[in-house]
């Protein structure tokens, strides 16, 4: 606690002096030092975000508020980037008295960071909305999605009825999956669907593991618990490492699904390698898995390989 208090005192009183000193000696503002000095990806974008959030300059605070408002309206999309970001970047350049001609590389670098930071924030909102949407068996769209999941996972076996114990074969708890979505809402179903659609081989491979007579587990329920893990990693910002270090993709709902698929695939691997006695070891192995993922995400240099490949024998 004492340390924490000292740290906030430091943040508040000493940071401006240090920033001023560095500005005078390097002739660069903090945002420039980050853009030029930090490695592209999670390290740079996270430090830019921190710097912007700690800023006490009115114009910077207004820029942040403006971008947050854009995200609230879900308008932070590629086609609107120049309309939204060009004036924003110009304000920062003016406020920070950056010489545009001398530092023509700053704008694009800084802009890229803004794109990552606010795409992530918009994603958090989108994911939250999906999570809050309860699975509703009166909604034909929800029902269709659920039935599609069965079709994708069990292509050779038609479902006997809407309410049947067959659902337990893909790892739901009872005769009707609707209650299993609970706190994760539609997000849990969308995650499972994406895994089954986009990674057909991998999801089949994982599903077959879950049906193993000795090391089997409940596929869908474990999946929903992994949705919860992915959701928390996204919300507390841990997933930034993963999302900001991918060069080809911006944070988006599809990237969140990919992250989930990665977690599912890796969890399955760890589960099988652990040779669990029975399903009751789930909590322990799940915790161990979460810790491993968190450790990896804590290193800003981590790059997650997302290309899940299955050995076809």
């Amino acid at each position: 606690m004492v340390f924490f208090n000292l740290w906030s005192v430091f943040q508040w009183y000493l940071r401006p002096f240090i920033k001023w000193f560095l500005r005078k000696t390097t002739r660069l503002c903090e945002l420039q030092r980050i853009c030029y000095g930090d490695k592209i990806g999670a390290q740079r974008s996270c430090n830019i975000e921190k710097s912007l959030m700690l800023s006490r300059t009115r114009d910077v605070q207004e820029v942040v508020a403006f971008l947050d408002a854009v995200v609230k309206e879900r308008r932070f999309i590629p086609t609107l980037f120049s309309e939204i970001l060009d004036p924003t970047v110009n304000i920062i350049i003016r406020v920070k008295k950056i010489n545009k001609k001398l530092h023509d590389s700053f704008s694009p670098l800084f802009r890229q960071c803004l794109i990552q930071i606010w795409s992530y924030r918009q994603l958090v909102d989108e994911v939250e909305e999906l999570r809050c949407t309860h699975f509703d068996s009166n909604d034909p769209i929800h029902e269709k999605k659920l039935l599609r999941l069965w079709g994708l996972l069990m292509p050779d076996r038609p479902l006997e009825a809407r309410i049947t114990k067959d659902w337990q074969d893909i790892g739901f708890q009872g005769d009707d999956p609707k209650t299993d979505f609970r706190g994760m809402g539609l997000l849990g179903l969308e995650n499972l669907l994406y895994f089954a659609t986009e990674y057909r081989q991998a999801s089949n491979h994982v599903l077959s593991h879950s049906l193993h007579p000795k090391y089997g587990y409940t596929f869908a329920i474990v999946g929903i618990n992994l949705t919860s893990m992915a959701y928390y990693l996204l919300k507390d910002g841990s997933a930034k490492t993963y999302m900001f270090n991918l060069k080809q993709h911006l944070p988006s709902i599809n990237l969140f699904h990919k992250f989930y698929c990665y977690l599912f695939y890796e969890f399955d691997k760890m589960w099988i390698e652990s040779k669990p006695e029975n399903m009751m070891e789930f909590s322990i192995i799940f915790k161990k898995f979460e810790n491993a993922v968190r450790t990896e995400l804590a290193d800003p240099a981590s790059v997650f390989r997302i290309n899940i490949e299955v050995d076809t024998i």
């Binding site: 708890q173 209650t179 609970r182 706190g183 994760m184 329920i221 474990v222 399903m279 009751m280 799940f286």
Partner: protein, 182 residues
Amino acid sequence: MMGLLNILKKLRSNPDKELRLLLLGLDNAGKTTILKQLASEDVAHVTPTAGFNIKSVLSNGFKLNVWDIGGQRKIRPYWRNYFENTDILIYVVDCSDHQRLEETSLELAELLQDDKLRGVPLLVYANKQDLATALPASEVATLLGLHLIRDRTWQIQACVATDGTGVKEGMEWVCKNIPIKK
């Protein structure tokens, strides 16, 4: 909800007394939500329990170990592994799930016949009373045949786990009925 476990320390101040509470019931009954209420945690993000959850809550020398075991059929056979040294059995019923009242009644009857749980006080939470279709606690008690129990003290408590209504009252009963260990 903070005050909930403080009741325990008020009622008894045995310094190194550890209590083992076992939460059982069918899937989707509300066990994990009750567990989270006890630990004053957010109940909005509950997921189905694969395996079990355990939370220990320390309260002035009182250590409460609450075991919440998943309710799906596949893992019910493992419930037995957690019976040993249970001080209080808490059984949770979803009162709006009419179709499975018989199933839950059978599961409970089986629990009560088990040697390892002999004499262990039983608290039944008649959960989801906020739903229009929920049966009142008294009717659930009849359906479960609680009045026929002779070998232990028992109580039924109406509750709404998601907002905490009634959970505290149930725990008050638990505190008063802590068996004295040999």
